[in-house]
């Protein structure tokens, strides 16, 4: 008595449907968003790179007239102390990128390690780490920055430390959820049924599967970190002069925004260009990193 066999026998033997795809020409790995993002962010990176080689004036050169409009001598004009605005803008790009990259590196590494630990942990360890992360996330980054500045004084390092620590909690919480989701999948169990050890499961299955989401999130965090650095500098908690920062330029230009608008507009525009560029990169990466999206679009 084998009804199932019978069903198969009574119906004409249909060929197994074959899915096309693997031999179809691979789609370009570069999406339009990614290209646009790279162009915008690349512009700021180029300005920052140029600032290492050449600056129109020294950052603390106050020889110019005060609040000059854009002209031949000072391309973007000068600020209220007579410093060249283009010079400050270029140094600001360097500072923004340094703080952004530094805090993403710090937050990414700390967050990934803590998230992996919490993702693999069970019961009390997982609960403890989760509670700690929730507290850290609830704790305002600005307050954390003020505490760190109070202890270490305002500097580039303090800004990176404050933003990176705040970011690590967010990255860790995301990593924890991603790890738990991958570990619950059948393919991890399947891999373990064939005797794969835990370290190999992490490198072969867990990291590759959480990496696309994590990478996109880190790119978004880079944009947020740049904004956070501008906020800290605006409040006077960022790197001190002569390191010009876009945030501090905005703050200094605030009083004269109607008479000399370039001082406020220029750093604002560059800030927006960088953040939009980084966000577009994040969007483009999402399409590139996921093979199921790569071909279906």
């Amino acid at each position: 008595m084998r009804p199932a066999m019978r069903v198969a026998a009574s119906s004409p033997k249909a060929p197994v449907p074959e899915a096309p795809a693997a031999d179809a020409p691979a789609r370009s790995r570069w999406s339009a968003t990614l290209v646009a993002g790279c162009v915008l962010a690349g512009l700021v990176v180029a300005v920052a790179a140029l600032s290492l080689l050449w600056l129109p004036y020294a950052p603390d050169d106050t020889s110019g007239d005060r609040l000059m409009p854009p002209g031949a001598e000072h391309l973007l004009g000068t600020d209220k102390l007579g410093r060249d605005l283009l010079t400050q803008l270029m140094i600001g790009a360097r500072i923004a990128l340094t703080v952004g990259a530094g805090s993403v590196l710090l937050g990414g590494v700390l967050g990934l390690l803590a998230g992996l630990a919490a993702g693999f942990a069970t019961r009390w360890l997982d609960d403890t780490v989760s509670a700690l992360l929730d507290i850290l996330i609830a704790f305002p980054t600005l307050l954390l920055a003020m505490l760190i500045v109070a202890v270490r004084s305002a500097s580039l390092g303090s800004a990176i430390l404050a933003i990176g620590l705040g970011m690590s909690a967010i990255v860790a919480r995301l990593t924890r959820v991603l790890v738990k989701r991958v570990l619950a999948q059948d393919f991890v169990t399947a891999s373990r049924t064939s005797g794969t050890s835990w370290p190999r499961v992490v490198t072969e299955h867990v990291l590759p599967n959480i990496w696309p989401t994590l990478l996109v999130n880190l790119a978004l965090q880079l944009g947020l970190a740049v904004l956070a650095e501008a906020s800290l500098s605006y409040l006077g908690l960022g790197p001190p002069p002569p390191n010009a920062s876009w945030g501090r330029m905005l703050q200094e230009a605030q009083a004269t925004v109607l008479t000399a608008p370039v001082g406020a507009v220029a750093p604002g525009v560059l800030l927006v260009v960088l953040v939009i560029g980084v966000n577009l990169i994040a969007d483009g990466l999402r399409d590139v990193a996921d093979p199921t999206r790569r071909r279906t679009r």
Binding site: M1, R2, A8, S11, K13, V16, A19, D186, T189
Partner: protein
Amino acid sequence: MSLLDVTGLRVRSAGGRDLVRDLSFTIGPGERLGLIGESGSGKSLTALAVMGLLPSGMTASGSVVLDAPGTGPSEVVGAPERRLNGLRGRAVSVVFQEPLTALDPLMRVGRQLAEPIRRRRRLRGAALRAAVAAALQEVRIAEPGRVARAYPHEISGGQRQRVAIAMALACEPALLIADEPTTALDVTVQAEVLALLGGLVTARGMALLFIGHDLAVVSGITDRVLVLKDGEAVESGTVREIVDAPRHPYTRSLVAGARHLDSALDWTNR
């Protein structure tokens, strides 16, 4: 001497509920046992308990002894992870129900299949690639080259399950556990995959623990059947005995259901 000896197995959830109670069965080398029951009857948990892979929070008690050639008799319940890792793959491996989730979506099929082959046979490079192609051919995949380069979402459900079977077989286990391997497939593919699985298990002299909810499917591929209901074994015997003279009401309803489908098909064929 039996390959797998389960005595008084009990699986308890984190909440203290018994999900499997006092389950005992044995499988000898080359034997085929069917584990049949409705969803939630503890079939899959039994399979996971045999591998020492219960979800965290669940605990097993009783005794599960695996005695595969090359590993020696070992108790699975309460064994350390290190000991279990040596058993998994060599003594037992599993084919899961859902072939899409049983394959890593971000890893090409060939690479996933290469992993157990590399570990078991210590091959590398060209020899490893050839072994992967051979393994794919063995499960009747028409274009092994193309499938090996594809991601799991790029091949059909039947092909995915064939790949999963190839991965389980690549470990060359003494006992293969098939946890509803055909439930997610449509009927024609189901029959092909079952025939393939049966043929490969026979050819390699493996023992088979086949888990399912469909008596027709399970009886088609196994010699003996154990009927589970709410975590307890209610009846066991050879396929013939169960089909001809079911004793427990649940078994009777299973047999009646299968017969009903059978006669309905006869009627439409007329």
